[in-house]
Symmetry: C2
Subunit: 329 residues, 2 copies
Amino acid sequence: MISIKDVAKHAGVAISTVSKVLNQYPNVSDETRKKVTMAIEELGFVPNSIASALSSKQSGRIALLMNLTTQTQAIDEIGMQYLHGAIWQAEKEKMDLITVFFSMIKEKSVLELKTYFKAQNIEGIIIYGLSKDDFVLHELILSKSFKIVVIDAPIVNSATSSVWIDHRKAQYDIAKKTILENNAKRVLYISGKENGYVTEQRIKGMQELAEDLDLTLLIRDGKFNELEARKLTFQYGAHKDVIVCASDLMAIGAMNALMEMDIFRPVCGFDGITLMGYVGKQMNTVRQNFFAVSASAVEEMHHLITGREGQEIFLGYELVRMQYLDIIC
Amino acid sequence: MISIKDVAKHAGVAISTVSKVLNQYPNVSDETRKKVTMAIEELGFVPNSIASALSSKQSGRIALLMNLTTQTQAIDEIGMQYLHGAIWQAEKEKMDLITVFFSMIKEKSVLELKTYFKAQNIEGIIIYGLSKDDFVLHELILSKSFKIVVIDAPIVNSATSSVWIDHRKAQYDIAKKTILENNAKRVLYISGKENGYVTEQRIKGMQELAEDLDLTLLIRDGKFNELEARKLTFQYGAHKDVIVCASDLMAIGAMNALMEMDIFRPVCGFDGITLMGYVGKQMNTVRQNFFAVSASAVEEMHHLITGREGQEIFLGYELVRMQYLDIIC
DNA sequence: CTGTTAGCGCGTTCAG
DNA sequence: CTGAACGCGCTAACAG
């Protein structure tokens, strides 16, 4: 292996000088800089990130902590989108990203968790899929032992930022669109899990809308579960004009129930997963840009690590209508 | 930060002794081992993996290189399954796993690739989704600069292992099952991309079957593309008794085409993705255990790194019939 | 069985 | 602007 020492020798300068051009220090003459750059080229030198990390005490390593057990888990593209966006941005920021699943840390105490991350020299953690009853994680966040960016949860402190879309408004918008298109009055809202942060925001959006449009609103907990939504639809669907669901997967469950009941009711979802296009003839939904969300999270993490205070960040979304042929073509 | 030195002092032994108990060396007395363990507990010492890596020259870092642009890409759970299995096994083997997408290295030359991985102290690479025309990657494999495990491609050398299921036999089995169930004779086989390693294996399986059962076999390249399969079905479907597809997604494309043509033909797929259950009433397919495949790949990587020669590993599969309610319940 | 010592490759003072 | 020297936390011979 060829090291910084070899480069120094080859260029006829000191080791520290090479280190300086490597780390873009200002006080190096153009001439020496050029010499060093040449030597690096010629020798095909690649800086050893491990040595660098040890010496500088900065690993540049962050973890993407994903909860895929709840919600739609593995049958949609959401997780991959998050992952892709995070990796992409991490490479841009020259950070190292490792992926961790909730299932791997489920049984751990706060102390064990800290040890787990410390042992891996993790500086920051991005959390996706946090729910209110993940007590250990909440403790971890409050301890400020790591820089943390939470996706879809409103937690902010000096070491913690939050990244999400405005779920209240998004739910309001997509429901309003669907309701107005169908001239509906009696609404069944199948909500997400009650311990989820997004759930309460979305419910607020629905309540606001009900007031604004003078609707009859029935709210039932679908637990982000397709089967549950199916059952609720069998139970209440016939006496409602429209069914608004807090996730695409629940919308699919509702729609299949309606088909089996052989009645038509407009349904709308939330997320914009591809699966939606396969089962519905047409369905309104909110398309979130998951890639962009996690990319923003990584970017924010970078700021956190380099000293900025935590903050809340809102991103945009789109209202779309999904259908089969649009997807595969 | 508390280091090995502090532990040594606290336990009243030398630094190297601590290192020895940390790394499970045999020649340490039970008594000193106990003392050291106690000190570690009391101080809450966590070994610094970076320093360890620097000193031992073993990073224990491997990369999972995923190609999701071809095939079903982001709309199924395959990628997540692979990832999950790999992470799970990597943790077990105490290795560090980072995820890399093809899109991030697409434009790179072999030299740049080596630099890219070297700079990250990667010791081994697991490649998923390799096709025959990824020349740069093939060169990388042949160079033996890294330990490599290839999933679904038959490449083996002293630094390279291969992990896959027997695609020839699997294709044979699932097609045979479907054909016998429906008493079919004229078969349309919609194959995968011609430059894919699995494609030729599966085609072999079909040809063998055609001979064994005395079938009329028409093979057309569906490129693992849903739309393409749809087109081919419109073109040939009416004059065939059964349509065998090299992927679930193509099977879905075929099935939707049949529905639009308003004719019925049995269709079978390959992969066992959940989506399959949403669109078909019932469909035969081969369910691979992607989690197990990538876990095996990581395990094999561990062997490779610790000195074993490359080898070929075959895993099992299942023939299943998928349908909607089975999935959501 | 235990302790001493010399690096691993790099970042960072601090003289010059 | 440059270079010598020290240290990051740990591993691995080598003595004792």
